[in-house]
């Protein structure tokens, strides 16, 4: 065992692989952060759609959630990899393929968090808002969503942890994230044990510290949404 290989390639692994600055368009964080933000925006619509009274909104939103929650993420990534170039009629860089796949896929899970968050707001709040003369849209925007958002925060942090781990799958289509960076170094140095153990520790430090943070938030906010994964 010789962990010197990690030291000599530390810059490539962390700056190129983890952060995403360098010769390749890559980076674990460069994929994970836009994916969670855009996925959450889409997830708000999915979550609201799941709670809509009109069946022509509710049924497609439910179908969306069931479809993506019943399909492995790799399958979804392959779908986008093959479909997007056919639909758009231009070859697409791995970054955009991966980002599109993650946003669409995660929105199904984030939509469920949004739905649970909205359902956690007591009914009396809606009734009180209606009584003061707010319209349904105003009630949602000024009363329900702000409170729901607070309740969602721990679950959102947990989902970001899941997403951060999932971004390793983008390496399958050639996106240079932390996992792919380790593979590239390993092809040259043939030190799989040291390299994969090292990136395991890097992932672990990020995800574990975030899960501690989420647990602290949960106790502080007194989350009524139960224990996230």
């Amino acid at each position: 065992m010789d962990f010197g290989v990690v030291v000599s390639n530390f810059g490539f692994l962390m700056v190129q692989g983890f952060l995403g600055f360098g010769n390749f368009v890559g980076g674990t964080l460069r994929l994970a952060i836009p994916a969670i933000v855009l996925g959450f925006i889409l997830g708000i619509f999915i979550g609201l759609g799941r709670l809509a009274r009109a069946p022509w909104i509710r049924i497609p939103a439910t179908g969306y959630v069931e479809l993506f929650r019943g399909t492995p993420l790799i399958m979804v990534i392959f779908w986008f990899w093959f479909i997007l170039p056919i639909l758009l009629r231009v070859p697409l860089p791995e970054y955009w393929v991966a980002l599109a796949a993650f946003v669409i896929f995660e929105a199904a899970y984030l939509g469920e968090i949004v739905r649970a968050g909205i359902q956690s707001v007591p009914k009396g709040q809606v009734e009180a808002a209606t009584a003061t003369g707010l319209t349904a849209a105003q009630t949602m925007r000024h009363v329900v969503l702000p409170q729901a958002l607070k309740n969602m925060i721990p679950a959102l942090v947990t989902q970001f942890i899941v997403l951060l781990k999932d971004t390793s799958l983008a390496s399958i289509i050639g996106y240079v994230d932390l996992t792919k960076a380790a593979q590239i170094v390993n092809n040259r140095e043939i030190r799989p044990f040291e390299l994969y153990l090292f990136i395991a520790v890097v992932y672990w430090i990020c995800t574990y510290s975030m899960s501690r943070f989420s647990r602290r938030l949960e106790t502080r906010l007194g989350s009524p949404m139960g224990n996230p994964a």
């Binding site: 399909t71 781990k165 799989p192 395991a200 224990n227």
Partner: protein, 241 residues
């Protein structure tokens, strides 16, 4: 480019046979990994609630380290990283007996064991304290109380979240394609490579996963109703995806 659909690629040539083999391999690796994960999950989940600190620390380390690292990294670690450190005869044996399948099963089982453990622990912790006290007062030892009282109740409480986690395991078995296990996603890709019909091949793969997942979920919904403990199930009933 104009895409020409040709659904017959799914049953012409070897495609049907590949898909069938893929389904069988997916079910096989998932079932073996599930057994391993359940054993590790029950053991570490129970150990995390016992009054002995060193056992708790060990179990906590296992759970927190393995579930917080991507499964893909574990696949590479167990397949590429660990075998070179084993003695030569063991290596030879492994690579003559489908090393990728065993590494994949192991990676999947150990990773999901850590996730099962969390489900089991929350199940055990949701059991009222009086059950422990009642078990102790009837003269049961800690081991007996766990084996006869706590674990049987916990197993019934955790059916809904466990179903979710088991389906996650099934879906995650697709990651084994990265180390060359010929499971369903691998075979889907193979059909795509041979026929250049991506949409047809992916549709078939996706539908099979959906049917497997929805099928298992509906069977488990029945099991859930049968084994529910009235008044207790709601406490851990809320599934973590």
């Amino acid at each position: 480019m104009q895409y020409q659909f040709d659904w017959s690629v799914l049953w012409r040539g070897q495609s049907a046979q590949w898909l069938l083999q893929g389904i069988l391999t997916t079910l096989e690796i998932s079932a073996l990994a599930w057994l391993l994960a359940s054993a590790l999950g029950v053991l570490s989940g129970a150990l995390r609630t016992v009054p002995l600190r060193p056992l708790r620390v060990l179990a906590t380390f296992y759970v927190e380290f393995f579930r917080n690292v991507p499964l893909l990294v574990w696949m590479f670690f167990w397949y590429f990283g660990v075998p070179p450190l084993l003695p030569r005869p063991v290596q030879d044996w492994l690579f003559n007996h489908g090393a990728e399948f065993w590494a994949g099963t192991f990676a999947l089982g150990v990773y999901h064991g850590a996730r099962f453990s969390e489900v089991i622990r929350s199940g055990i912790q949701s059991i009222p304290k009086t059950q422990f006290e009642a078990a102790a007062s009837t003269g049961l030892t800690v081991a007996q109380a766990y084996r006869l009282i706590i674990i049987p109740i916990a197993l019934r409480l955790i059916v809904p979240p466990m179903t979710n986690e088991s389906l996650n395991l099934l879906k995650n078995s697709s990651i084994a394609l990265t180390i060359g296990v010929a499971e369903l996603t691998f075979q889907t890709r193979q059909i795509e490579t041979y026929t250049a019909k991506a949409i047809e091949a992916l549709t078939a793969g996706t539908l099979i996963y959906l049917i497997l997942c929805l099928g298992i979920a509906s069977v488990m919904a029945r099991v859930e109703r049968r084994f529910a403990i009235p008044g207790l199930i709601a406490r851990v009933g809320r599934a973590e995806h």
